[in-house]
Amino acid sequence: MTTPAHKITIEEIENLSVQTNLVQKGLNFVRNWPVVPMTILAIFIICGVFAGFVAPYDPEADQLRAVLAQPAWYDACEEGQLTNKFKPCNTNGIELGRNKDVYHFLIGADALGRDVLSRIIFGARISLQLAGVAIVVGTVFGATLGLIAGYFGGFIDEIIMRFTDIFQAIPYLLFALAVVQVLGQSFGTIVFVLALTCWPGITRLVRGQTLQVRSFDYIALAKVAGASTFRIMTKHLLPAVANTMVVATTLQVGAVILTESILSFLGAGVPPPTPSWGSDISAGREYLGSAWWIAFFPGMAIFLTVLSFNFIGDWLRDRWDPRLRQL
Protein backbone atom coordinates (compact mmCIF):
# COMPACT_ATOMS: atom_id res chain seq x y z
CA MET A 1 0.00 0.00 0.00
CA THR A 2 1.46 3.31 -0.93
CA THR A 3 0.61 6.69 0.38
CA PRO A 4 -0.46 9.01 -2.32
CA ALA A 5 2.47 11.15 -3.30
CA HIS A 6 2.08 14.74 -2.29
CA LYS A 7 2.03 16.89 -5.31
CA ILE A 8 4.57 19.63 -5.03
CA THR A 9 3.35 22.82 -6.59
CA ILE A 10 5.55 25.26 -8.35
CA GLU A 11 4.81 27.90 -5.70
CA GLU A 12 6.10 25.66 -2.98
CA ILE A 13 9.37 25.11 -4.78
CA GLU A 14 9.74 28.81 -5.33
CA ASN A 15 9.00 29.51 -1.68
CA LEU A 16 11.52 26.93 -0.62
CA SER A 17 14.25 28.33 -2.82
CA VAL A 18 13.51 31.88 -1.67
CA GLN A 19 13.81 30.77 1.94
CA THR A 20 17.08 28.94 1.50
CA ASN A 21 18.29 31.84 -0.55
CA LEU A 22 17.60 34.26 2.29
CA VAL A 23 19.31 32.07 4.88
CA GLN A 24 22.12 31.38 2.49
CA LYS A 25 22.45 35.04 1.68
CA GLY A 26 22.57 35.95 5.35
CA LEU A 27 25.24 33.34 6.03
CA ASN A 28 27.23 34.34 3.01
CA PHE A 29 27.02 37.96 4.04
CA VAL A 30 28.46 37.21 7.47
CA ARG A 31 31.08 34.97 5.91
CA ASN A 32 32.13 37.39 3.19
CA TRP A 33 31.98 40.68 5.05
CA PRO A 34 33.79 41.49 8.31
CA VAL A 35 30.56 42.30 10.12
CA VAL A 36 31.81 42.12 13.70
CA PRO A 37 34.98 44.21 13.22
CA MET A 38 33.00 46.74 11.16
CA THR A 39 30.39 47.07 13.92
CA ILE A 40 33.01 47.51 16.64
CA LEU A 41 34.83 50.11 14.59
CA ALA A 42 31.61 51.91 13.73
CA ILE A 43 30.80 52.16 17.45
CA PHE A 44 34.23 53.60 18.22
CA ILE A 45 34.08 56.03 15.31
CA ILE A 46 30.60 57.24 16.29
CA CYS A 47 31.84 57.60 19.88
CA GLY A 48 34.81 59.59 18.65
CA VAL A 49 32.90 61.89 16.35
CA PHE A 50 29.95 62.53 18.66
CA ALA A 51 31.88 62.22 21.92
CA GLY A 52 30.13 65.24 23.38
CA PHE A 53 26.68 63.64 22.94
CA VAL A 54 27.55 60.03 23.68
CA ALA A 55 29.66 60.51 26.80
CA PRO A 56 27.53 60.59 29.98
CA TYR A 57 29.81 63.00 31.89
CA ASP A 58 32.57 65.52 31.39
CA PRO A 59 35.78 63.49 30.98
CA GLU A 60 37.96 66.16 32.59
CA ALA A 61 35.77 67.13 35.56
CA ASP A 62 37.20 65.96 38.89
CA GLN A 63 34.69 64.68 41.45
CA LEU A 64 36.57 64.19 44.69
CA ARG A 65 33.68 62.36 46.35
CA ALA A 66 33.68 59.83 43.53
CA VAL A 67 37.38 58.98 43.74
CA LEU A 68 37.91 55.35 42.66
CA ALA A 69 34.14 54.78 42.50
CA GLN A 70 33.56 51.21 41.37
CA PRO A 71 31.64 50.09 38.30
CA ALA A 72 27.87 50.17 38.88
CA TRP A 73 27.56 46.38 38.56
CA TYR A 74 30.52 45.45 40.71
CA ASP A 75 30.89 45.50 44.49
CA ALA A 76 34.49 45.85 45.54
CA CYS A 77 33.50 46.57 49.14
CA GLU A 78 32.15 43.08 49.63
CA GLU A 79 35.37 41.65 48.35
CA GLY A 80 37.17 43.77 50.91
CA GLN A 81 39.19 45.67 48.33
CA LEU A 82 37.91 49.12 49.24
CA THR A 83 37.93 49.49 53.00
CA ASN A 84 38.10 53.25 53.37
CA LYS A 85 34.66 54.33 54.59
CA PHE A 86 34.94 57.65 52.74
CA LYS A 87 35.24 55.88 49.43
CA PRO A 88 31.84 55.37 47.82
CA CYS A 89 30.81 51.74 47.95
CA ASN A 90 27.15 51.94 47.03
CA THR A 91 26.27 50.55 43.65
CA ASN A 92 23.09 52.55 43.23
CA GLY A 93 24.77 55.77 42.18
CA ILE A 94 26.57 58.53 44.00
CA GLU A 95 25.05 61.88 44.93
CA LEU A 96 27.34 64.66 43.85
CA GLY A 97 27.31 68.43 43.65
CA ARG A 98 25.06 71.01 45.26
CA ASN A 99 21.96 69.59 43.60
CA LYS A 100 22.71 66.08 44.83
CA ASP A 101 22.56 64.77 41.27
CA VAL A 102 22.86 61.01 41.22
CA TYR A 103 25.86 59.85 39.21
CA HIS A 104 26.14 56.33 37.81
CA PHE A 105 29.64 55.30 36.89
CA LEU A 106 28.99 52.45 34.48
CA ILE A 107 32.55 51.19 34.48
CA GLY A 108 33.85 53.13 37.48
CA ALA A 109 35.76 56.32 38.10
CA ASP A 110 39.49 56.99 38.21
CA ALA A 111 41.77 58.40 40.92
CA LEU A 112 40.40 61.91 40.41
CA GLY A 113 36.78 60.79 40.31
CA ARG A 114 36.46 61.12 36.54
CA ASP A 115 34.13 58.75 34.72
CA VAL A 116 36.20 56.03 32.98
CA LEU A 117 33.58 55.46 30.27
CA SER A 118 33.48 59.14 29.31
CA ARG A 119 37.26 59.20 29.20
CA ILE A 120 37.34 56.18 26.90
CA ILE A 121 34.78 57.81 24.60
CA PHE A 122 36.73 61.05 24.41
CA GLY A 123 39.95 59.04 24.16
CA ALA A 124 38.55 57.39 21.02
CA ARG A 125 38.32 60.85 19.49
CA ILE A 126 41.98 61.66 20.18
CA SER A 127 43.35 58.25 19.20
CA LEU A 128 41.38 57.92 15.97
CA GLN A 129 42.02 61.53 15.01
CA LEU A 130 45.78 61.19 15.52
CA ALA A 131 45.94 57.85 13.74
CA GLY A 132 43.70 59.03 10.88
CA VAL A 133 45.61 62.21 10.13
CA ALA A 134 48.96 60.45 10.52
CA ILE A 135 48.02 57.64 8.18
CA VAL A 136 46.80 60.07 5.50
CA VAL A 137 49.98 62.15 5.74
CA GLY A 138 52.15 59.03 5.73
CA THR A 139 50.33 57.48 2.77
CA VAL A 140 50.47 60.62 0.63
CA PHE A 141 54.18 61.02 1.31
CA GLY A 142 54.98 57.32 0.94
CA ALA A 143 52.90 56.81 -2.20
CA THR A 144 54.37 59.91 -3.88
CA LEU A 145 57.90 58.68 -3.26
CA GLY A 146 56.95 55.17 -4.40
CA LEU A 147 55.37 56.44 -7.64
CA ILE A 148 58.38 58.64 -8.41
CA ALA A 149 60.86 55.85 -7.66
CA GLY A 150 58.95 53.27 -9.68
CA TYR A 151 58.21 55.50 -12.67
CA PHE A 152 61.59 57.13 -13.19
CA GLY A 153 63.74 54.19 -12.08
CA GLY A 154 67.53 54.35 -12.36
CA PHE A 155 69.36 56.82 -10.21
CA ILE A 156 66.27 58.43 -8.63
CA ASP A 157 64.91 55.00 -7.73
CA GLU A 158 68.24 54.03 -6.18
CA ILE A 159 68.38 57.17 -4.02
CA ILE A 160 64.79 56.92 -2.81
CA MET A 161 65.00 53.21 -2.03
CA ARG A 162 68.29 53.51 -0.14
CA PHE A 163 66.75 56.38 1.83
CA THR A 164 63.82 54.10 2.68
CA ASP A 165 66.18 51.26 3.64
CA ILE A 166 68.14 53.48 5.99
CA PHE A 167 64.96 54.76 7.52
CA GLN A 168 63.81 51.24 8.25
CA ALA A 169 67.20 50.34 9.68
CA ILE A 170 67.03 52.61 12.72
CA PRO A 171 64.99 51.79 15.83
CA TYR A 172 61.96 53.91 15.27
CA LEU A 173 60.34 54.26 18.71
CA LEU A 174 63.41 55.78 20.35
CA PHE A 175 63.72 58.43 17.69
CA ALA A 176 60.03 59.16 18.03
CA LEU A 177 60.51 59.69 21.76
CA ALA A 178 63.50 61.97 21.17
CA VAL A 179 61.60 64.03 18.59
CA VAL A 180 58.63 64.49 20.91
CA GLN A 181 60.94 65.43 23.76
CA VAL A 182 62.68 68.15 21.76
CA LEU A 183 59.71 69.51 19.78
CA GLY A 184 57.13 69.31 22.56
CA GLN A 185 53.94 67.28 22.87
CA SER A 186 51.68 69.07 20.43
CA PHE A 187 49.11 67.44 18.13
CA GLY A 188 51.25 68.33 15.10
CA THR A 189 54.42 66.77 16.50
CA ILE A 190 52.69 63.51 17.35
CA VAL A 191 51.06 63.30 13.92
CA PHE A 192 54.45 63.94 12.33
CA VAL A 193 56.08 61.22 14.42
CA LEU A 194 53.31 58.72 13.71
CA ALA A 195 53.32 59.50 9.98
CA LEU A 196 57.02 58.64 9.95
CA THR A 197 56.20 55.05 10.98
CA CYS A 198 54.01 54.16 8.09
CA TRP A 199 55.54 55.67 4.95
CA PRO A 200 58.46 53.28 4.23
CA GLY A 201 56.23 50.21 3.90
CA ILE A 202 53.86 52.03 1.58
CA THR A 203 56.70 53.40 -0.55
CA ARG A 204 58.05 49.87 -1.04
CA LEU A 205 54.72 48.37 -2.10
CA VAL A 206 53.69 51.24 -4.37
CA ARG A 207 57.11 51.23 -6.05
CA GLY A 208 56.88 47.50 -6.71
CA GLN A 209 53.44 47.86 -8.23
CA THR A 210 54.46 50.91 -10.30
CA LEU A 211 57.44 49.03 -11.75
CA GLN A 212 55.03 46.42 -13.14
CA VAL A 213 52.39 48.80 -14.45
CA ARG A 214 54.97 51.10 -16.03
CA SER A 215 55.76 48.59 -18.76
CA PHE A 216 52.12 48.14 -19.83
CA ASP A 217 51.10 49.28 -23.28
CA TYR A 218 48.57 51.87 -22.19
CA ILE A 219 51.28 53.85 -20.41
CA ALA A 220 53.41 53.80 -23.54
CA LEU A 221 50.34 54.87 -25.51
CA ALA A 222 49.75 57.77 -23.15
CA LYS A 223 53.36 58.83 -23.67
CA VAL A 224 52.99 58.66 -27.45
CA ALA A 225 49.80 60.69 -27.20
CA GLY A 226 51.87 63.42 -25.58
CA ALA A 227 50.63 63.25 -21.99
CA SER A 228 52.86 65.00 -19.51
CA THR A 229 54.73 63.04 -16.85
CA PHE A 230 52.52 64.51 -14.13
CA ARG A 231 49.40 63.49 -16.03
CA ILE A 232 50.64 59.95 -16.60
CA MET A 233 51.47 59.59 -12.93
CA THR A 234 48.21 60.96 -11.57
CA LYS A 235 45.70 59.84 -14.23
CA HIS A 236 47.17 56.55 -15.41
CA LEU A 237 49.52 55.14 -12.79
CA LEU A 238 47.80 56.19 -9.58
CA PRO A 239 44.47 54.43 -10.30
CA ALA A 240 46.40 51.27 -11.19
CA VAL A 241 48.25 51.19 -7.87
CA ALA A 242 45.34 52.52 -5.77
CA ASN A 243 44.25 49.05 -4.63
CA THR A 244 47.67 48.12 -3.35
CA MET A 245 47.94 51.50 -1.67
CA VAL A 246 44.61 51.24 0.15
CA VAL A 247 45.31 47.69 1.32
CA ALA A 248 48.79 48.59 2.53
CA THR A 249 47.39 51.61 4.36
CA THR A 250 44.61 49.69 6.10
CA LEU A 251 47.09 47.08 7.26
CA GLN A 252 49.13 49.87 8.88
CA VAL A 253 46.33 51.57 10.84
CA GLY A 254 46.39 49.09 13.71
CA ALA A 255 50.13 49.47 14.15
CA VAL A 256 49.81 53.27 14.15
CA ILE A 257 47.14 53.17 16.87
CA LEU A 258 49.34 50.84 18.95
CA THR A 259 52.32 53.17 18.53
CA GLU A 260 50.23 56.14 19.57
CA SER A 261 49.09 54.33 22.70
CA ILE A 262 52.69 53.38 23.54
CA LEU A 263 53.78 56.99 23.14
CA SER A 264 51.05 58.28 25.40
CA PHE A 265 51.68 55.47 27.91
CA LEU A 266 55.31 56.61 28.14
CA GLY A 267 54.20 60.19 28.68
CA ALA A 268 55.10 61.37 25.17
CA GLY A 269 51.56 61.59 23.79
CA VAL A 270 48.98 64.35 24.03
CA PRO A 271 49.56 66.08 27.38
CA PRO A 272 47.07 65.56 30.30
CA PRO A 273 44.29 66.19 31.27
CA THR A 274 43.18 65.39 27.70
CA PRO A 275 41.91 61.81 27.87
CA SER A 276 43.99 59.32 25.93
CA TRP A 277 43.84 55.53 26.18
CA GLY A 278 47.54 55.03 26.73
CA SER A 279 47.99 57.64 29.42
CA ASP A 280 44.83 56.48 31.25
CA ILE A 281 46.29 52.97 31.49
CA SER A 282 49.50 54.47 32.79
CA ALA A 283 47.52 56.36 35.45
CA GLY A 284 45.56 53.24 36.42
CA ARG A 285 48.74 51.25 36.99
CA GLU A 286 49.13 52.65 40.50
CA TYR A 287 45.64 51.54 41.54
CA LEU A 288 45.77 47.95 40.27
CA GLY A 289 45.35 46.58 43.78
CA SER A 290 42.12 48.43 44.50
CA ALA A 291 40.63 49.75 41.25
CA TRP A 292 41.51 47.48 38.33
CA TRP A 293 38.88 49.05 36.06
CA ILE A 294 40.93 52.22 35.47
CA ALA A 295 43.63 50.33 33.57
CA PHE A 296 41.51 47.47 32.23
CA PHE A 297 38.86 49.19 30.11
CA PRO A 298 41.02 51.61 28.08
CA GLY A 299 43.28 48.68 27.22
CA MET A 300 40.26 46.72 26.03
CA ALA A 301 39.36 49.69 23.81
CA ILE A 302 42.82 49.73 22.22
CA PHE A 303 42.80 45.96 21.79
CA LEU A 304 39.37 45.87 20.12
CA THR A 305 40.16 48.79 17.81
CA VAL A 306 43.48 47.36 16.66
CA LEU A 307 42.01 43.88 16.27
CA SER A 308 39.15 45.25 14.14
CA PHE A 309 41.48 47.23 11.91
CA ASN A 310 43.71 44.17 11.46
CA PHE A 311 40.74 42.01 10.50
CA ILE A 312 39.44 44.57 8.02
CA GLY A 313 42.93 44.99 6.59
CA ASP A 314 43.25 41.22 6.08
CA TRP A 315 39.84 41.08 4.50
CA LEU A 316 40.58 43.96 2.11
CA ARG A 317 43.86 42.34 1.15
CA ASP A 318 42.24 39.01 0.36
CA ARG A 319 39.60 40.75 -1.68
CA TRP A 320 41.55 43.40 -3.54
CA ASP A 321 45.15 42.32 -3.60
CA PRO A 322 45.70 38.67 -2.71
CA ARG A 323 49.29 38.78 -3.90
CA LEU A 324 50.24 40.77 -0.81
CA ARG A 325 49.30 37.74 1.25
CA GLN A 326 52.81 36.36 0.99
CA LEU A 327 54.22 39.34 2.87
Binding site: R162, L177, A178, V182, L288
Partner: protein, 314 residues
Amino acid sequence: MRTFILRRLIFMILSIVAATLIVFILSRLQGDPRYLMLNTGYTTPEIWEEWGRKMHLDKPLVVQYFYFMYDGLIKWDFGVSLKTSIPSMEMVRSFAPASMQLGLSAFLFVLLTGIPIGILSAVKRGSIWDAIGRTFAVFGQALPPFWLGIMLILIFSVNLDILPSGTRGEGTTGWTKISYFIMPAVTLGWLASAGLMRLVRSSMLEVLDSEFVKLARAKGANSKTIIWKHAFRNALIPPLTFAALIVAGFIAGTVVTETVFAWPGLGFMTFQAIINNDFPVMMAAVMVFTVIYVMTVFIVDILYAFIDPRIRHS
Protein backbone atom coordinates in the same frame (compact mmCIF):
# COMPACT_ATOMS: atom_id res chain seq x y z
CA MET B 1 80.14 36.83 -1.06
CA ARG B 2 82.81 39.45 -0.39
CA THR B 3 81.04 42.17 -2.36
CA PHE B 4 77.84 41.27 -0.55
CA ILE B 5 79.46 41.70 2.87
CA LEU B 6 81.10 44.93 1.73
CA ARG B 7 77.78 46.30 0.49
CA ARG B 8 76.04 45.43 3.75
CA LEU B 9 78.92 46.95 5.71
CA ILE B 10 78.67 50.25 3.86
CA PHE B 11 74.93 50.22 4.39
CA MET B 12 75.41 49.61 8.11
CA ILE B 13 77.78 52.55 8.45
CA LEU B 14 75.45 54.77 6.41
CA SER B 15 72.56 53.90 8.74
CA ILE B 16 74.55 54.81 11.83
CA VAL B 17 75.66 58.07 10.23
CA ALA B 18 72.04 58.84 9.34
CA ALA B 19 71.08 58.25 12.96
CA THR B 20 73.75 60.67 14.20
CA LEU B 21 72.54 63.20 11.65
CA ILE B 22 68.97 62.97 12.96
CA VAL B 23 70.12 63.35 16.56
CA PHE B 24 72.33 66.28 15.57
CA ILE B 25 69.48 68.07 13.79
CA LEU B 26 67.25 67.46 16.81
CA SER B 27 69.78 68.94 19.19
CA ARG B 28 70.11 72.09 17.05
CA LEU B 29 66.37 72.58 16.45
CA GLN B 30 65.87 74.72 19.51
CA GLY B 31 68.67 77.15 18.71
CA ASP B 32 71.44 76.90 21.27
CA PRO B 33 72.06 73.19 22.04
CA ARG B 34 73.42 74.14 25.47
CA TYR B 35 69.84 74.54 26.65
CA LEU B 36 69.40 70.80 26.06
CA MET B 37 72.83 69.70 27.25
CA LEU B 38 73.24 71.71 30.45
CA ASN B 39 71.13 72.01 33.54
CA THR B 40 70.34 75.68 32.98
CA GLY B 41 69.24 76.20 36.57
CA TYR B 42 72.60 75.26 38.05
CA THR B 43 75.13 76.37 35.51
CA THR B 44 77.66 79.21 35.71
CA PRO B 45 78.80 81.48 32.89
CA GLU B 46 82.21 79.73 32.95
CA ILE B 47 80.69 76.31 32.36
CA TRP B 48 78.39 77.79 29.72
CA GLU B 49 81.39 79.24 27.85
CA GLU B 50 83.40 76.06 28.27
CA TRP B 51 80.61 74.01 26.68
CA GLY B 52 80.39 76.55 23.87
CA ARG B 53 84.09 75.94 23.13
CA LYS B 54 83.72 72.17 23.59
CA MET B 55 80.87 71.96 21.11
CA HIS B 56 82.57 74.42 18.71
CA LEU B 57 79.50 76.59 18.49
CA ASP B 58 81.47 79.41 16.83
CA LYS B 59 82.21 77.22 13.79
CA PRO B 60 79.81 76.57 10.89
CA LEU B 61 77.14 73.88 11.32
CA VAL B 62 78.85 71.33 9.06
CA VAL B 63 82.03 71.52 11.15
CA GLN B 64 79.94 71.25 14.30
CA TYR B 65 78.40 68.08 12.91
CA PHE B 66 81.80 66.48 12.36
CA TYR B 67 82.83 67.33 15.91
CA PHE B 68 79.54 65.88 17.08
CA MET B 69 80.16 62.63 15.16
CA TYR B 70 83.70 62.48 16.59
CA ASP B 71 82.41 62.94 20.14
CA GLY B 72 79.59 60.47 19.66
CA LEU B 73 80.95 57.63 17.57
CA ILE B 74 84.67 57.68 18.42
CA LYS B 75 84.73 58.91 22.02
CA TRP B 76 81.19 57.83 22.93
CA ASP B 77 80.77 61.01 24.93
CA PHE B 78 77.24 62.42 25.06
CA GLY B 79 77.63 64.71 28.04
CA VAL B 80 76.56 64.46 31.65
CA SER B 81 73.10 63.42 32.80
CA LEU B 82 71.08 66.44 33.88
CA LYS B 83 69.44 64.46 36.65
CA THR B 84 72.24 62.45 38.23
CA SER B 85 75.37 64.28 36.94
CA ILE B 86 76.87 60.94 35.90
CA PRO B 87 78.32 60.73 32.36
CA SER B 88 75.52 59.29 30.24
CA MET B 89 77.60 56.47 28.73
CA GLU B 90 78.49 55.30 32.22
CA MET B 91 74.77 55.16 32.99
CA VAL B 92 74.23 53.09 29.85
CA ARG B 93 76.99 50.73 30.96
CA SER B 94 75.48 50.22 34.41
CA PHE B 95 71.95 49.67 33.09
CA ALA B 96 72.86 47.44 30.15
CA PRO B 97 73.33 44.04 31.92
CA ALA B 98 69.76 43.97 33.25
CA SER B 99 68.43 44.61 29.74
CA MET B 100 70.59 41.85 28.28
CA GLN B 101 69.26 39.36 30.84
CA LEU B 102 65.69 40.35 30.11
CA GLY B 103 66.29 40.22 26.36
CA LEU B 104 67.81 36.74 26.56
CA SER B 105 65.04 35.32 28.73
CA ALA B 106 62.41 36.82 26.42
CA PHE B 107 64.23 35.33 23.42
CA LEU B 108 64.12 31.95 25.14
CA PHE B 109 60.39 32.36 25.69
CA VAL B 110 59.89 33.26 22.02
CA LEU B 111 61.78 30.19 20.81
CA LEU B 112 60.12 27.82 23.28
CA THR B 113 56.60 28.94 22.38
CA GLY B 114 56.74 30.21 18.79
CA ILE B 115 58.40 27.22 17.14
CA PRO B 116 56.45 24.35 18.80
CA ILE B 117 53.07 26.05 18.42
CA GLY B 118 53.88 26.92 14.80
CA ILE B 119 54.84 23.34 13.97
CA LEU B 120 51.88 21.89 15.83
CA SER B 121 49.37 24.08 14.03
CA ALA B 122 50.94 23.33 10.64
CA VAL B 123 51.12 19.56 11.14
CA LYS B 124 47.61 19.33 12.59
CA ARG B 125 46.17 21.84 10.19
CA GLY B 126 42.48 22.59 10.75
CA SER B 127 42.43 20.95 14.18
CA ILE B 128 41.71 22.60 17.51
CA TRP B 129 45.49 23.15 17.98
CA ASP B 130 45.59 25.09 14.74
CA ALA B 131 42.68 27.25 15.90
CA ILE B 132 44.36 27.93 19.26
CA GLY B 133 47.65 28.76 17.57
CA ARG B 134 46.07 31.13 15.08
CA THR B 135 44.01 32.87 17.75
CA PHE B 136 47.21 33.33 19.74
CA ALA B 137 48.90 34.90 16.71
CA VAL B 138 46.02 37.26 15.91
CA PHE B 139 45.67 38.38 19.53
CA GLY B 140 49.41 38.78 19.90
CA GLN B 141 49.47 41.39 17.17
CA ALA B 142 46.62 43.45 18.58
CA LEU B 143 47.46 43.42 22.31
CA PRO B 144 49.14 46.61 23.52
CA PRO B 145 52.32 45.24 25.16
CA PHE B 146 52.20 47.53 28.19
CA TRP B 147 48.58 46.59 28.86
CA LEU B 148 49.44 42.89 28.62
CA GLY B 149 52.10 43.44 31.30
CA ILE B 150 49.68 45.30 33.55
CA MET B 151 47.01 42.64 33.15
CA LEU B 152 49.55 39.92 33.98
CA ILE B 153 50.39 41.84 37.16
CA LEU B 154 46.68 42.13 37.93
CA ILE B 155 46.13 38.39 37.53
CA PHE B 156 49.31 36.86 38.91
CA SER B 157 50.42 39.43 41.46
CA VAL B 158 47.25 41.09 42.72
CA ASN B 159 44.64 38.33 42.49
CA LEU B 160 46.59 35.06 42.65
CA ASP B 161 49.60 36.51 44.46
CA ILE B 162 52.05 33.95 43.06
CA LEU B 163 54.50 36.11 41.09
CA PRO B 164 56.35 39.30 42.09
CA SER B 165 55.03 42.41 40.35
CA GLY B 166 58.30 44.04 39.43
CA THR B 167 62.03 44.75 39.81
CA ARG B 168 64.80 42.26 39.16
CA GLY B 169 64.68 40.62 42.59
CA GLU B 170 68.13 41.77 43.74
CA GLY B 171 69.60 39.53 46.41
CA THR B 172 67.35 36.55 45.71
CA THR B 173 68.48 33.24 44.29
CA GLY B 174 67.11 30.10 42.71
CA TRP B 175 63.44 29.83 41.92
CA THR B 176 62.59 33.14 43.56
CA LYS B 177 65.00 34.84 41.19
CA ILE B 178 63.48 33.08 38.19
CA SER B 179 59.98 34.07 39.27
CA TYR B 180 60.99 37.72 38.82
CA PHE B 181 61.84 37.00 35.19
CA ILE B 182 58.64 35.24 34.11
CA MET B 183 56.19 38.09 33.58
CA PRO B 184 58.66 40.59 32.03
CA ALA B 185 59.94 37.93 29.64
CA VAL B 186 56.41 36.96 28.57
CA THR B 187 55.40 40.60 28.10
CA LEU B 188 58.47 41.41 26.03
CA GLY B 189 58.33 38.20 24.01
CA TRP B 190 54.61 37.90 23.33
CA LEU B 191 54.50 39.91 20.10
CA ALA B 192 57.63 38.28 18.68
CA SER B 193 56.35 34.85 19.66
CA ALA B 194 53.10 35.42 17.79
CA GLY B 195 55.03 36.60 14.74
CA LEU B 196 57.43 33.66 14.84
CA MET B 197 54.55 31.22 15.24
CA ARG B 198 52.85 32.57 12.12
CA LEU B 199 56.06 32.39 10.13
CA VAL B 200 56.94 28.85 11.26
CA ARG B 201 53.40 27.73 10.44
CA SER B 202 53.31 29.12 6.91
CA SER B 203 56.84 28.02 6.11
CA MET B 204 56.17 24.53 7.50
CA LEU B 205 52.96 24.26 5.46
CA GLU B 206 54.84 25.23 2.32
CA VAL B 207 57.54 22.62 2.87
CA LEU B 208 55.06 19.91 3.82
CA ASP B 209 53.38 20.55 0.48
CA SER B 210 56.58 20.31 -1.58
CA GLU B 211 57.61 17.50 -3.90
CA PHE B 212 60.42 16.02 -1.85
CA VAL B 213 58.18 15.57 1.17
CA LYS B 214 55.64 13.84 -1.06
CA LEU B 215 58.43 11.61 -2.31
CA ALA B 216 59.45 10.78 1.25
CA ARG B 217 55.84 9.91 2.00
CA ALA B 218 55.65 7.75 -1.13
CA LYS B 219 58.81 5.93 -0.06
CA GLY B 220 56.99 5.04 3.13
CA ALA B 221 58.94 7.08 5.66
CA ASN B 222 56.98 7.45 8.88
CA SER B 223 55.45 10.79 9.67
CA LYS B 224 57.82 11.55 12.55
CA THR B 225 60.82 11.29 10.25
CA ILE B 226 59.10 13.41 7.64
CA ILE B 227 58.23 16.18 10.05
CA TRP B 228 61.56 16.40 11.87
CA LYS B 229 64.07 15.27 9.31
CA HIS B 230 62.66 16.56 6.05
CA ALA B 231 60.24 19.38 6.75
CA PHE B 232 61.43 21.04 9.93
CA ARG B 233 65.03 21.65 8.84
CA ASN B 234 63.99 23.29 5.61
CA ALA B 235 61.15 25.22 7.16
CA LEU B 236 63.48 26.90 9.64
CA ILE B 237 65.32 29.03 7.07
CA PRO B 238 62.75 31.83 6.64
CA PRO B 239 62.18 32.26 10.40
CA LEU B 240 65.90 32.89 10.77
CA THR B 241 65.56 36.34 9.20
CA PHE B 242 62.86 36.97 11.71
CA ALA B 243 65.52 36.96 14.44
CA ALA B 244 66.56 40.44 13.35
CA LEU B 245 62.97 41.61 13.59
CA ILE B 246 62.72 40.07 17.06
CA VAL B 247 65.64 42.19 18.20
CA ALA B 248 64.00 45.22 16.63
CA GLY B 249 60.79 44.51 18.50
CA PHE B 250 62.72 44.01 21.72
CA ILE B 251 64.35 47.42 21.44
CA ALA B 252 60.98 49.15 21.24
CA GLY B 253 59.52 46.68 23.73
CA THR B 254 62.19 47.03 26.42
CA VAL B 255 61.26 50.65 27.01
CA VAL B 256 57.64 49.66 27.64
CA THR B 257 58.26 46.38 29.50
CA GLU B 258 60.94 47.74 31.78
CA THR B 259 58.74 50.73 32.60
CA VAL B 260 55.84 48.47 33.54
CA PHE B 261 57.94 46.14 35.70
CA ALA B 262 60.38 48.74 37.09
CA TRP B 263 63.16 46.63 35.58
CA PRO B 264 66.50 48.44 36.04
CA GLY B 265 67.57 48.27 32.39
CA LEU B 266 68.23 50.57 29.43
CA GLY B 267 64.56 50.94 28.62
CA PHE B 268 63.75 52.06 32.14
CA MET B 269 66.66 54.50 31.95
CA THR B 270 65.27 55.85 28.67
CA PHE B 271 61.83 56.30 30.19
CA GLN B 272 63.30 58.15 33.17
CA ALA B 273 65.24 60.34 30.74
CA ILE B 274 62.01 61.21 28.91
CA ILE B 275 60.08 62.24 31.98
CA ASN B 276 63.04 64.17 33.43
CA ASN B 277 63.80 65.89 30.10
CA ASP B 278 67.30 64.48 30.32
CA PHE B 279 68.52 64.97 26.75
CA PRO B 280 72.14 63.70 27.09
CA VAL B 281 70.99 60.33 28.47
CA MET B 282 68.25 60.15 25.84
CA MET B 283 70.83 60.74 23.11
CA ALA B 284 73.17 58.07 24.48
CA ALA B 285 70.31 55.57 24.66
CA VAL B 286 69.20 56.31 21.10
CA MET B 287 72.70 55.86 19.72
CA VAL B 288 73.44 52.67 21.67
CA PHE B 289 70.15 51.08 20.64
CA THR B 290 70.74 52.10 17.01
CA VAL B 291 74.19 50.53 16.93
CA ILE B 292 72.92 47.29 18.53
CA TYR B 293 70.02 47.11 16.09
CA VAL B 294 72.00 47.89 12.94
CA MET B 295 74.72 45.40 13.88
CA THR B 296 72.20 42.63 14.54
CA VAL B 297 70.59 43.21 11.16
CA PHE B 298 74.05 43.12 9.55
CA ILE B 299 75.01 39.82 11.23
CA VAL B 300 71.69 38.17 10.38
CA ASP B 301 71.94 39.32 6.75
CA ILE B 302 75.38 37.75 6.45
CA LEU B 303 74.23 34.53 8.12
CA TYR B 304 71.24 34.34 5.86
CA ALA B 305 73.33 34.84 2.74
CA PHE B 306 75.66 32.14 4.01
CA ILE B 307 72.82 29.64 4.32
CA ASP B 308 70.84 30.61 1.24
CA PRO B 309 73.08 31.39 -1.78
CA ARG B 310 70.20 32.95 -3.72
CA ILE B 311 70.35 36.03 -1.47
CA ARG B 312 73.99 36.76 -2.32
CA HIS B 313 73.33 37.13 -6.02
CA SER B 314 70.16 39.18 -5.96
